[in-house]
């Protein structure tokens, strides 16, 4: 790209303008193809598939925003469910239908007051004189504005949660974020906030048209990914990555630690709030049980599996986790104990083979250490016992919670064998796909190289050569 007058060169100037055009065209094309695919999937797919896709997008927003703290800023944050709770309850309260509000008024156990029940987008638009936005056709406007409100409120809380990061580091900070998440969740049902949250009852009967629509959810996801990736490659994002690599060095280079850390938290909390708003719409209701710590745990699995710090990887990981969550029902059904023993033996056998392959591949010695023969022996014992079909294997057993067990084991295995995740920190890019990095140098660069390596033109190159030759002669 030709340098325009007065502008300082940036990293983007290194990209050939033709390639930039190609990249933008390809991105738009991919988006169009993705939209077409969504359209087709929505048309032919079952509602289960549509729901899974929508959930994928919603959790994608959450994980991409969590990755802003965990991956880009390098701070382990465990309070994401708290931010989502704030966005979720805000959206729920603001978009609750009139019928549901009447139900709450009539309910004896409700803890809400007339004032808090009057908080709705419809009333807000009416008081602003925007009566055109209170019709059933414009419900989407109210939903979007409510979700944005939720995001902003979550961002404000993110500001507060971000401040301890100025004093603390590492696992202490992780505990503090966890503490904040739990404080938000626990205090939502106390008498301070129960007029707003309806205590342990929550809200039910939310409109799930938006949360279960692939268009709205993927639209929000596209915006989130666009904004977060723009931030990642901006000066802010590079400062945050510098903080991740070495806080002291970053500070020495002039990075304002406090500003960038708190900024990271605020951005992350904002998008978490938006994800929370979509999540309650997907669930068609708001309850405290929807915002347990396990939510953050699943995001953590997604991020760690895909690749901490990489938006591409995080989205891959989210797809994996959502797939297990939505399509893992066979794991939780009732089978006979004998079948379970066979399954467990098979898993142990696979683990033993994998461990043996791993040790061979990494050339670890001794090859037959306990991580190989213990699962192998247990698998053999299991198969033998199951095939003998003794009396004590006559019962049946329901795999209650098997999906969560699978995901936690997955996380442990990933942490041990591939802590950087599937794709590591690499991002998808058209340039990488087309091998731009491996391209030949331009004529200009060739000329520069020629000049640099010609000792007659470049005196320092000659000196370098001489000094390089010296030790060989001396030795």
């Amino acid at each position: 790209m030709k340098k325009t007058r007065g502008s300082t060169p940036t990293a983007l100037d290194a990209v050939d303008p033709k390639r930039r055009l190609r990249n933008v065209a390809l991105t738009l094309g991919a988006l169009a193809l993705g939209a077409l695919a969504l359209y087709l999937l929505e048309g032919i797919g079952s509602s289960k598939l549509t729901q899974a896709l929508a959930l994928c997008a919603i959790w994608g927003i959450a994980t991409v925003s969590l990755n802003q703290i965990n991956g880009t800023l390098g701070i382990l944050s465990l309070g994401h469910h708290g931010f989502m709770l704030i966005g979720g309850y805000t959206t729920g309260l603001l978009t609750l239908s009139e019928a549901s509000r009447r139900n709450i008024v009539n309910s004896a156990r409700s803890t809400m007051t007339e004032d808090t029940l009057a908080l709705s987008m419809t009333n807000l638009f009416n008081s602003l004189g925007l009566t055109g936005l209170t019709t059933p056709e414009t419900e989407w406007v109210r939903f979007v504005v409510a979700v944005l409100f939720g995001g902003i409120l979550a961002a404000v809380v993110g500001l507060i949660v971000g401040f301890p990061s100025l004093r603390l580091r590492g696992d202490y900070l992780a505990i503090v974020t966890f503490g904040f998440g739990e404080i938000i969740r626990l205090s939502a049902s106390t008498r301070i906030f129960s007029p707003l949250t309806n205590g342990a009852l929550g809200f039910s009967g939310l409109n799930s048209d938006f949360g279960k629509s692939v268009w709205w959810t993927f639209g929000f996801l596209a915006i989130t990914v666009f904004v977060i990736s723009k931030i990642k490659y901006s000066s802010y994002g590079r400062a945050m990555q510098a903080i991740r690599e070495d806080e002291v060095a970053a500070e020495a280079m002039g990075v304002n630690l406090a500003y960038h850390k708190v900024l990271g938290f605020v951005i992350s909390a904002f998008f978490a709030g938006i994800a929370g708003g979509l999540w309650v719409s997907w669930l068609a209701g708001v309850r405290l049980e929807y915002f347990l710590f396990s939510l953050t745990f699943f995001f953590l699995v997604a991020i760690s599996a895909g690749g901490t710090g990489s938006i591409t990887g995080v989205l891959l990981g989210t797809a994996l986790v959502v797939f297990v969550r939505q399509y893992g029902d066979p794991l939780e059904e009732t089978y006979s104990l004998q079948t379970w023993l066979y399954i467990a033996s098979a898993v142990l056998g696979i683990a033993a083979v994998a461990a043996a392959a791993f040790r061979t591949f990494r050339r670890l010695r001794p090859r037959w250490n306990p991580s190989v023969w213990v699962p192998a022996a247990l698998a053999v014992v299991g198969v033998v016992m199951a095939s003998l079909d003794p009396a004590f294997l006559d019962g049946t057993f329901r795999g209650f919670g098997m999906r969560a067990i699978f995901l936690s084991v997955l996380l442990i295995v990933i942490m041990i064998f591939r802590p950087e995740g599937i794709v590591g920190r690499a991002e998808f890019s058209w340039g990488r796909l087309f091998g731009d990095d491996r391209s030949q140098p331009t004529d200009e660069e060739r000329r520069q190289d020629a000049w640099l390596s010609n000792p007659e033109l470049n005196k320092s190159a000659a000196v370098d050569d001489a000094s390089r030759r010296l030790p060989e002669g001396g030795a």
């Binding site: 590492g170 505990i175 106390t190 760690s304 969560a404 442990i412």
Partner: protein, 402 residues
């Protein structure tokens, strides 16, 4: 595990803790006298009951907090799974005093686990888990336990000991499988693994143990009713108000003696100070870490069994361990993580702030009480302590250095 004396407190501020403590005491006494004048039911017996509750709770938290603080002292890991180890301890006790006698298959499995625990226990005082005495003890106990498990219902004390051994084995297994491969990994990876282990144990508990509230009422003299005359009133309680603090005291003293007197205890202190140098001096750091997990889990199991006795029932496995675990962790931080006396002091502080504070601010005519903020308060306290004094009351400064 701080052993070196910390005389770094500036002389000019030595009086500060005493002033704070004295002020708090005066405030508490004033509040108590105010309440006593307010309503008839806030009498001496009311506060004595609250005091007993806080001492019991504090002792329970101390048993859990010791595990957190020991592990953190040596490998700088917040062992998120410790609350779940406590949960397993409680349920192991339950399954040993209710479901016994076992059939031969279960007896075989349990006896193997318990014998492994015996092996580890004897190995604490021998040079190696494979020396003749340890192996002999393991074999004999395996055979004996195999028949004892089939013989009849176990009394509570036997269930308690069995659960401590089994849970110790669990702790060692967790360390070996999940944490040991990550010795050189970044600390965030270790913490994430700990969270995953905690989640795994919760769901395994749901899967294999039970998914509902479980009554915990063993036949034991500890539950005998005791009447304490306080002035004209009588406080109805049971023998646990002596039993729990006494058990904690005994275990803490044994632990203290072990850490300060024994060979392995000295190795533990060396590893806590500087694991790398200790390794170079011939300390087997892996063995020390395994021992730490073993002892921490044993204490947590004792805490779990006593928890069940104290409350008469156990929550379902997925939620039983979380709050006690977090509160005990808060206790370890308040006391100064890495320090054994600190963990006990912090646990007492948490126990008092949970039980006695709710008694100081009870539900009255014009005030709804603070019971519903009890759990939130533990987190708030944790955050405040971390922000103001991360080194805790007696701990050394563990903030990362360049």
């Amino acid at each position: 595990m701080s052993v070196a004396s910390h005389g770094s407190t500036r002389r000019s501020r030595r009086w500060l803790p005493y002033v704070v403590l004295g002020g708090l005491l005066i405030l508490i006494v004033l509040r108590m006298s105010y309440l006593m004048g307010l309503e008839g039911r806030f009498n001496g017996a009311f506060f004595v009951r609250a005091l007993i509750d806080s001492v019991k709770l504090g002792s329970l938290y101390a048993l859990i907090a010791l595990g957190y603080t020991m592990v953190y002292g040596i490998i700088r890991l917040i062992n998120f799974a410790h609350g779940e180890v406590f949960m397993v301890g409680a349920f192991a006790t339950y399954f040993l005093f209710t479901v016994t006698p076992y059939g031969w298959v279960s007896a075989l499995l349990f006896a193997a686990v318990l014998a492994f625990g015996v092996n580890r226990l004897v190995a604490l005082f021998r040079t190696s888990p494979r020396d003749p005495v340890t192996l002999g003890a393991t074999g004999v106990s395996f055979v004996a336990l195999f028949f004892l498990l089939q013989a009849g219902t176990w009394p509570f004390w036997a269930a308690l000991i069995g659960s401590m051994l089994a849970t110790g084995v669990l702790g060692v297994t967790i360390e070996r499988v999940a944490y040991q491969p990550l010795r050189t990994a970044p600390r965030n990876s270790l913490l994430i693994t700990a969270i995953a282990v905690s989640f795994l144990l919760q769901n395994l508990g749901l899967l294999t143990l039970t998914n509902r509230q479980t009554p915990f009422r063993p036949e034991t003299g500890l539950l005998n009713a005791v009447q304490l005359p306080i002035g004209e009133q009588v406080v109805q309680t049971n023998a646990l108000f002596v039993g729990i603090p006494l058990l904690t005291l005994v275990l803490v003293l044994v632990l203290h003696n072990f850490v300060t007197r024994s060979r392995l205890g000295r190795a533990m202190r060396a590893a806590a100070q500087d694991a790398e140098t200790a390794q170079m001096m011939g300390v087997s750091v892996n063995k020390v870490i395994a021992t730490t997990f073993f002892i921490g889990s044993i204490l947590a199991a004792a805490g779990g069994a006593m928890w069940g006795l104290n409350f008469g029932s156990l929550n379902q496995p997925a939620i039983l361990g979380i709050l006690p675990g977090i509160k005990a962790f808060a206790a370890a931080v308040i006391g100064g993580i890495g320090s054994l006396p600190g963990a006990v002091i912090g646990a007492v502080v948490i126990g008092f702030s949970e039980s006695f504070l709710t008694a100081l601010f009870p539900r009255t005519a014009d005030f709804q009480g603070i019971t519903e903020f009890k759990d939130t308060f533990a987190f708030v306290l944790l955050i405040i302590v971390l922000l103001i004094k991360p080194s805790g009351i007696v701990g050394e400064d563990l903030s990362e250095k360049v």
